[in-house]
Each structure stands twice: as C-alpha cells, then as structure tokens.
Symmetry: C2
Subunit: 461 residues, 2 copies
C-alpha cells in the first residue's frame, strides 16, 4: 500500500529501528550519573552527538537534541531573539516557513516584538534581494527554510546567509525537509531539524547554534543539553536518529536521483493526464522527492478520500482538509490555486510501479470527484442578448463550490461583461483569481461586504 506522505512523517528507516532496539537495553539510564549504566548512556549520547554534528557540518558542542523539530524551532528562535534584545526586536521570516516558525513570530509579536514576512514568487521561493531588503538595523534574527515543506521549492539559503552576515544578523535555517538529503550550504548561524522527517524516530529534533552566535536560553533553567533543551534526554531515540541520519546520507545521492526522476514523471503525467490542473513549486530547484498540484473544481478532502480508498496516502493544503477552514499559507503566499490540492512526497525506497499505479488511478479519482460536484466543462459561446453582468450567491458554500458556481455562469454573460461572486469561504480569495489566471479570464478585484466578499470577474472578449 503506497504511502506518499514522507514530508509529514517518514516510515522508520531500518537502521533507526535497529539502533533504537539496541539502545533500549543500553541507553535507559541518566547520562549525568557516575555509575556504569550512566557512563554507558553518556558514551552513547556523546557518540550520537558526534555523528549528528558530522552530518550537519558543525562541532558537537554546537548541537543539542530537542524533543521535536517544533521544539528546536520554538526554543532556537526564542533564544536567539532574547540574546539580541538590545539590538532590537525585529524578526524576519519568509512567508512560507513552517507553522512552527510563523507561530513563533506571532508569539513574538504578541509579546511586543515586530516581524516581517518576506513574500515569495509563484514558485514559492523568496528572492534573496527581497529578503535582504527586509533586514533592518533593529533586526535581531532572520529565519529561512532550506526547502519548502509543501511544494518542495529550494530557498536561496547560501546567498541569504551571506547577506545576513554582511549586516550582522544571525540566520536560522529550518532544515527539517532537506537535512536527510545533504548538509545546508552557506554561512548560517542557527539550524533546526527533525529526525522523523529523514526516517529517524519521533521525539528527536536538532538545534545547532554556531560558536560565536549570541544565544540566551529562555524559560526555567535546566542543566541538560548545555542548558538549551530541558528534560531527560530520550537517549534510545537520539541514538536511532543519529544512526539513521548517517545511513540515509550514505544513500542520499543515489536515492535522490532515482526519486527525482519519479517526481519528474509525476509532474509531466499529471499535467498531461488530468484536465484543469496546476502543478506548483519550482520544477528544477526543488527537493528530489516532493511534488504538489491543485485540481480545479475538486475538493481536497473528497480527493484524499478517493485516493485513500484506492490505497494511496497523500496529504493536501486545501482548506477543506484542515480544521481551520483556511487554505495552506504556502499556497496563499504563492498565489496559486488551493482547491483540490495534493502533495505527493515519496519515501525512500518508493518503487516505480507504485508511482505508475498512482498515475493510473489519479485521473479517474479526480474525474469522479468532479462528477459528483457537477463541475462545468469549457466556457460555451455567449448566448445572444446575454446580460452585461450577473451575480452568483455562494455564501455559505465551501471550496470548491464558489469557483464551480462562477465557472457555470461565466458563459452566460456577454464577452466583456462581469460576474460577481458573493462568497464567505476564505479559499475563494485565492481560488477565484487563480481560476481567472488558468482560464484566461480577467480578475477585477474583491470588495468586502457585510457578509463575506464580492469577487468580480470580467469575461474575456
């Protein structure tokens, strides 16, 4: 049964499994204790730290283990911001960071700090010059992911790190999605990662703070992990994380080339075989194993269920698959279609036949959802005596219905006439302009109403 959601959590690598088992018996004691079980635990911990540091490309004493990638991000940002409080309280991030970064920024703002989100282009990458322009004299910290977790686009980390160095701002790189594929290039200051993204166990994150970077741990004191990560160290998981990082790195180049080709095939075949689809993310500068696309007139949740029923596990950034009813902030920042969104992220070892099966099943799954929703076909010729404007009431209707309603009536107005869609679903703000772009229609704009918004579209002549 193909599991294609490695970007959420990768299945445990066999080396992680073995290392975890071995260290359950050897590594349960407190590494701070003086007796033999404690000394053995300390040796395992030191060896794991050295292995992880080697894979990151840092000194062992620059790296601590945290209980998760999220903890690494939360504590790393808080510690770096606090240490430079005298310089200022301004934080710069990209608009497409992981929620742990953006939620840290929101907490910082709630606490009186300020934050700037650097926008991204349609592929999901920041422009290095835009990032540099956001740095201010009072900027305490900048954060940029190595690669985007939803669309796979690589960010210009080395260039941004160089720019940050030049103005003396530390750069924290969230390397959660990329560290299993290789070290992060460039002269960054802090780095975070998460073991279960590379095939390690849950319960382990990495926080690296380069020597010379100012850092002030926040929260109650705790002497473990250099005072930077409180709590009893989860040693068996730490040992498994380090061992599996080394193992996946040994296979990384070969496996990346293989998966890159499979993803290339998905990108091409999805665009060719599924009508009205937008494949998003950078086609070249991307993670090897990840591809994302959005299907017009499809709701993400139904498509996920259809694919799950056919045996394929994928995830989605569509609003209808999340508890918040807002589409993924990444898709929003890129300005691309969010409805019918599917992220495919191949775990290591994915077989060609599994991908072929998925590509064979996908067009039927999409067509099935569209049929149930009554999705419209091509825009018909305008009838004679068509009105110059029409209004569609889609209030209370969820994604993708407002867009479907729009598509159903666009043929009913005269060329050059307008359709006004009343909608209160947040996804409409993203998906109506995206539909216009895909359909060659003109998006006029949005106007707030007492209930929801009015989105105006002009029919092409």
């Amino acid at each position: 049964m193909p599991y294609f959601d490695a970007a959420s959590a990768a299945p445990l690598h066999p080396v992680a499994h073995q290392a975890l088992l071995a260290s359950l018996d050897e590594g349960w004691a407190d590494p701070a204790r003086l007796y033999r079980e404690g000394r053995r635990a300390r040796m395992l911990l030191d060896a794991a730290r050295e292995a992880a540091a080697e894979a990151v490309g840092c000194r062992p004493d620059e790296l601590v283990f945290t209980p998760s990638g999220t903890h690494a991000v939360h504590t790393g940002i808080a510690g770096a911001l606090a240490a430079r409080r005298r310089v200022g309280r301004h934080l710069v991030t990209s608009a497409v960071e992981h929620s742990s970064v953006l939620h840290s920024a929101a907490a910082h703002e709630a606490d009186g700090g300020s934050a700037t989100e650097v926008p991204v282009g349609r592929t999901g990458a920041v422009a290095a010059r835009d990032f540099a322009a956001a740095l201010r004299p009072d900027t305490a910290l900048a954060c940029l992911q190595s690669a985007n977790h939803e669309v796979g686009t690589l960010q210009p980390v080395a260039e941004v790190a160089q720019q940050c160095r030049e103005v003396g701002v530390p750069l924290l790189v969230d390397a959660a999605q990329s560290l299993g594929w290789g070290p992060v290039d460039g002269d960054w200051s802090l780095l975070t990662a998460s073991a279960h993204k590379w095939g390690g166990p849950a319960g382990v994150g990495l926080l690296v703070v380069r020597k010379g970077v100012r850092y002030a741990p926040q929260g109650p004191a705790d002497e473990r992990e250099a005072g930077r990560s409180p709590g009893f160290v989860n040693l068996p998981a730490v040992v498994a994380a380090a061992a599996s990082l080394r193992a996946v790195r040994a296979e990384a180049d070969e496996e990346a080339a293989r998966l890159r080709e499979l993803v290339e095939r998905i990108r091409a075949r999805v665009a060719a075989d599924v009508p009205d689809v937008e494949v998003v993310g950078d086609p070249v500068d991307r993670l090897p194993h990840l591809v994302t696309f959005s299907c017009l007139y499809v709701d993400g949740e139904s498509l996920l269920h259809a694919l799950d029923g056919a045996g394929f596990s994928v995830s989605s950034g569509s609003s209808c698959t999340s508890s918040t009813l807002t589409p993924s902030h990444v898709l929003r920042a890129m300005g691309v279609l969010s409805e019918g969104n599917v992220r495919v992220s191949l775990p290591r070892g994915t077989r060609e036949a599994e991908v072929a099966d998925f590509l064979a099943a996908l067009p039927g799954a999409v067509a099935g959802v569209r049929e149930r929703l009554g999705a419209p076909g091509a825009v018909p010729a305008a009838p004679s005596a068509a009105p110059a404007s029409l209004t569609v009431d889609a209030l209370g209707k969820r994604c993708p219905l407002p867009v479907i309603e729009l598509a159903k009536v666009i043929g009913d107005v005269a060329p050059g006439g307008t359709v006004t869609v009343l909608a209160d679903d947040v996804a409409a703000r993203l998906d109506i302009p995206a539909w216009c772009e895909m359909r060659g229609q003109e998006y006029v704009g949005e106007e707030e109403r007492a209930q929801g918004s009015a989105y105006v579209v002009r029919r092409a002549k």
Copy 2:
C-alpha cells in the same frame, strides 16, 4: 549487577518494550492525517490517552502527553500561572520540590512574579497548616509533590488540596515519583508525571488539567495535544508509556509490599552496621522502594565510586557529586547531614539477595573511604590545661574535610570551650550543625567572614 537508582530512571518494563516495538511499525504516521496510516496512529493515540487517564483517575480530555516530566512541569506551571494573572502573580511551592518546579518558580520571579517556599520538617514533609498559611489572596498557583524524589517522604497532598480548594487556589501535584504506585488522592487541579520513572520509555510526560481549571497555554501556538504540548507526538513512546503504566499498576500493591520490606531491612541494617550514619526521610509515610542515608566523615563521590566498583549503582545528594558544589536542596531544607549521602531506590523486581549483597558490602565501603580521609574516632577526654578555644582553618577544603577537621580537634578544647571552623565549602553550613546534633555538641552559630564563614561549636560539658 544491582541497579538501585530507579528514582533517576527505571529500566524499561517488559510491557513497555513490547508495546514500543509493536507501535514502531504501526504508529509512526501523523495522527492528524486522514489516510489509513494516520487513522491507525490516531486510534493508538486515543487508546493510550484513555489508558493513561484511567490510571491517573481523570477524563481523557483532561490529559495531554508531553516530551518529558520536566516539560509537563514547566508548561503546566506557566499555563496555570498565566491563566490567573489577574488574580495575582504569587506562587507557592514546598522547599523540597523537584528542580523543574523550583526552576519554574525562579523563572517566574525573574519575570516579576513572587514565590514562597514552604519549609519542611526533618523528615522532609511539609505541615499542611504551614502550606495553608503561605496561600495569599494573590496566590495564582500552589505546587506540591506527591512524594519526595530524594528521601521518599510522602506529602499531605489530599489535605493541602482541600485547603487550596477552600481558598480557590489551584494545586499542581508533581506525581513523578509516585504515579506508578497508585493514583494521587485528593481534589487536586493539575498533575504532572514522567513515564521513565515508572518503567516506561524516556520521552513521555503527562500533564493533566482538570475541567474547570483555568489554563492558558504559553509560547507559540501549536494545534497538537489540545494546544498544550507542541511538537509531533512521539506515538510509539506514548503507547509504551500507557501500556507500562497499566502493567506496573496491576503489580503495584504486591510489589510495593515486597520492596517496602526490603527497604525496612536496609533502614535497620544501615543504622546498625554503619557507625555515624543518619538515615533520613519519614520511616513510615514514604515511597515503598526508596531510602536515603548520610555517612559522617565520608565524601559522597568516593563512596559512590567504591560502591560502583563493588557493582552497585546508587546516587547521592552530596555536594561533591554534583557539578554545582552545593548539597541537595532537599537535604538542606530538611536540615540533615549531607556528607556521604546515598540514595537507594529499588527498581521493580529487585531480589532479596541483591539487597543482602549491598548490605554486606556497604560497611566496608564506608570504612574504606573514612580510612583514606583520616576520619577521627570518638571524642577523647580533654587533656589537662586544654585551651578554652581553638580555631581550625579549613578554607579551600571540600566536604567532608571541614567536619573531619572539627572532629579531630574537639577533644583538644576544654569542656565548655569552643572550636571555630573557618570554611568556604557550602556544605559546611549544613554538615557542621548536623554533626553537632549527631555528636551531642552545641552548635553556637555562624558568622560571615571576608572569605567563607566561621562556624562556632561549643564542646559539651
């Protein structure tokens, strides 16, 4: 090889081992996802939460899993304090809480809050009336451990909880040491625990917040675990924690009775077979598996090494075994001897023969350390024409040397005369009065000097 430090970390229970293995294959996916692997993970997580809640005696939706007991304490205290900020910023704890509680209190004070430590008696227990007296109109939260981690003494939690209810102050109970032995009685408001203390894996703590108790999560938002514990859930460890809690509870009564008897034997035999020893902690109202004693004229680190060499793993609250050079805050609060301190905490399944071997080895180990340090014997009769006062310079000498120097010269002054010990080792402040108590000499007092302190002792008549 007997391991007698279960209070630091218990060896993994066989049920935890099995459950961890089983859920490594079933429980690695994200429980928030809609596909089959996610649904399976969600079912495992729900079942673990129900099992843990049943053992605690709470509703499943009152309990979240954290990455450690320390995280449970840090986040629980911060969330409870923040929710009652309008009431006030006063925090009450006992003086013998775990460092995670006391460090939370210190962080709260550094942030502008206030804190009161309720003192304990010589057995390590707070008096419920003293605790009640510390509650104020602006008290936002009170914290009391169920049982002390260093000396095993049970605290009057049910009575204190009742008093807290009466004045509307929530009580957080740190149940790390006792939860494996049984639920915490009384009408507490919040509870924390740590799985690796009961034989579960590292990487799992519990935070329980009773319905109706005001709670405001701090730090960056995260939707997992009801917004109370950020980061990807370490599901295999959580499953193992819940399964092992259920398993140790099933055996708890029988095993507690058995270990209680073994500890009774240690208490009696240590007092009888080791000269100049103080067995500390409540002899009756105590954890079943834990006993602590201190040996005069012995340094804890040498004794631990000697016992480790003989095959026994124990821990110590003596200053010379910690990196801080201060003796355990628990022993300090109790006002008992800290030098030559040994904590014995028996893991489940400890055999009688192992305890017998330990009791056979201990007197020789203590005598060996004393011989190397040149520890004095009984106080000799005063020589004729003995001086009325003497001063001993023990500056720069570490525990237990200042006490040994004192003991060596006490016989040289006339009865009723005084010995002044100059010392800058922090342990002297605790150990010189404790020595006087054990030796029937009079402790006159301490006077600060430019370097260290002068401790004055009057020879008994």
